[in-house]
């Protein structure tokens, strides 16, 4: 097994041993799923049709935006990344290993959501499993990349949570998780296209916009990881000039480009 595979494995195990990880990766998204599905399916009959992708995207956002950034910032602040540096751990693995580990946990959560929604809510199973897997992977890459980017531009864990909320809350409201994107006013619909969650829901839904959204998510994920590596710091006291962090906004380019499509 390569050092990187071992690293991902240890990150996965470490997350199981850590209560805050377990809460944010499992308990919170699954509780939210249970509560929301209980009343949303009564309020909106069509919610049953999108509950699996919506809750899968929600779980990915919890893990990638709320759990991963403060943990990565904490690793930088408590000197763990410095240890990585002196023990020869490359910077890309310091970002990619926790991201892949989180996605492993999210795959489990998605399976639990899919099975439970099908059995208890009568939610339809994905009609095109290949498209579902592709949409999930692209969404995971986009959100994990964004989480990594939030971590590298934030000085503290609290700052990371605040920055993540700038994406997280609009994504819940406008991303098509709770209500269909078609129900949004046109102007808000355009704003929503700047959010990975909106493209994730479009990709899961299939149809004419799915390919563009899949491409935007994949490009956004790759660009976010590249920018994270460019802005990565091993050490909390070894900070780069703040203006350079504005480069992180370039991660939105693939999503903004879909407005022109």
């Amino acid at each position: 097994m390569s050092a990187f595979a071992l690293h991902v494995g240890y990150e996965f195990k470490a997350a199981v041993r850590d209560r805050s990880h377990l809460f944010m990766n499992y308990l919170f998204p699954l509780l939210f799923f249970a509560l929301v599905s209980a009343f949303m399916t009564r309020m909106d009959g069509t919610f049953r049709n999108r509950v699996i992708p919506a809750m899968a995207v929600f779980a990915l956002m919890c893990s990638c935006l709320l759990s991963m950034p403060p943990n990565l910032v904490g690793s930088r602040l408590n000197g763990m990344l410095r240890s990585y540096r002196i023990y020869g751990v490359p910077s890309w693995t310091a970002i990619a290993a926790p991201a892949l580990s989180n996605l492993g946990h999210m795959a489990i959560v998605t399976l639990v959501i899919a099975a439970t929604a099908t059995l208890t809510l009568g939610a339809p199973m994905p009609a095109d499993p290949a498209l579902f897997c592709a949409a999930w992977l692209a969404s995971a890459a986009a959100l994990a990349g964004l989480g990594a980017l939030v971590a590298v531009v934030s000085r503290t864990g609290r700052m990371a949570i605040l920055v993540a909320q700038v994406v997280y809350i609009p994504s819940i409201m406008l991303g098509g998780l709770m209500m269909p994107q078609s129900a949004l006013p046109p102007a808000l619909g355009q704003v929503a296209l700047l959010l990975p969650a909106s493209h994730a829901m479009r990709a899961f839904a299939g149809g004419p916009g799915a390919a563009i959204s899949l491409a935007a998510l994949a490009a956004g994920g790759i660009l976010s990881f590249v920018l994270s590596l460019l802005l990565f710091e091993w050490d909390a006291t070894n900070t780069r000039p703040g203006a350079r962090k504005l480069l992180a906004l370039a991660a939105l380019i693939p999503y903004a480009a879909t407005l022109l499509a």
Binding site: A3, L6, Y10, G79, M80, R82, G88
Partner: protein, 310 residues
């Protein structure tokens, strides 16, 4: 001449307008223990961090095994073992996992990484803790683990930043024995410490930094024999001839007495003692006690940094 392991030339490190280290030069030969000494803020950690590749020098050059510590950090990670002063370790991993994890990144295969990790853990008394999560270890045990990580890949150079700070006497003695063992294996050790007794006991050479500049360099014996740190001579006689008469002795300065002892500080102990014994014989007094104490490195250090010993 010994092989040069570390070569520091004209090294300067600034933080904004503050100069942490100012045009520092020193070299470290293979197989020696070199101590970096200095008060807080003297520039020790900045110097170490630039040698470890964690920071860049603003000017001057630093070479470790002829390589650039920042650009060649990957290559050096296999040849250098580092224990940081403030070291974060993955708290949710077990000791065994942590050793195996970092061994793999240093290019060791699963088998040799595991056995080297176990050997270094055993050497540092962590054998019973291999299955424990790092977050459950005491401060001393975490320090031992950091040291185990620094030596598990059999590095040629070991850099230790305050390795015994905050440890109990027994653990400190064990770590001193381990460092002496590493030297006997031919390892080179760069040690930053506030513990002068530790430096005096272990170091072949020491560099004293004050306000980012070199204040003194040499072996502990050379350092203690320089400056005003003269040998202290205490003498007690039955009729207190030295306390009462205060005879002048060559190369010696008379100090205030301490109890039944007359005190002198001598720059030439042989000459002073010879004169002292002649004086004693001439007075007919009876010698009760005579003590000759070389100045400690700590006394000399305080003198160098401008805080004379009490």
């Amino acid at each position: 001449m010994m092989d040069q392991v570390i070569a520091v030339s004209g090294f300067t490190k600034r933080y904004g307008s503050a100069i942490a280290v100012d045009r520092l030069d020193f070299g470290l030969g293979r197989g020696e223990i070199f101590a970096l000494l200095g008060p807080n803020g003297a520039g020790k950690t900045s110097t170490l961090e630039c040698i470890e590749g964690l920071r860049r020098a603003d000017s001057g050059s630093i070479e470790v095994f002829g390589l650039d510590p920042v650009k060649d950090s990957g290559k050096l990670a296999r040849r250098v073992g580092v224990q940081l002063q403030a070291q974060g370790l993955p708290g949710a991993m077990t000791v065994r996992e942590t050793l195996g994890f970092f061994a793999r990144y240093r290019g060791m295969d699963a088998g040799s990484g595991a056995s080297a990790g176990l050997a270094s853990a055993e050497r540092l008394g962590l054998g019973p803790k291999l299955g424990a999560q790092v977050s459950t270890l005491s401060t001393g045990q975490q320090r031992r683990l950091a040291l185990a990580l620094a030596i598990q890949h059999d590095p040629e150079l070991v850099i230790l930043d305050e390795p015994t700070a905050g440890l109990d006497v027994e653990t400190r003695d064990e770590l001193h024995a381990m460092m002496a063992g590493l030297r006997s294996e031919g390892k080179t050790i760069l040690l930053a410490t506030h513990d002068m007794a530790e430096a005096e006991k272990l170091a072949d050479r020491a560099l004293v930094l004050v306000a980012g500049k070199r204040a003194a360099e040499g072996s502990p014996r050379e350092l203690t024999s320089q400056g005003e740190g003269r040998t202290r001579i205490s003498v007690s006689t039955s009729h207190n001839v030295f306390l009462l008469r205060r005879p002048e002795l060559p190369a010696a300065e008379s100090l205030p007495g301490e109890g039944a002892y007359a005190m002198y500080r001598s720059a030439d102990p042989a000459a002073t003692l010879s004169a002292l014994l002649s004086c004693l014989a001439a007075s007919g007094d009876e010698l009760l006690d005579l003590r000759v104490e070389r100045p400690s490195l700590e006394e000399r250090f305080l003198e160098i940094v401008g805080r004379r010993p009490a």
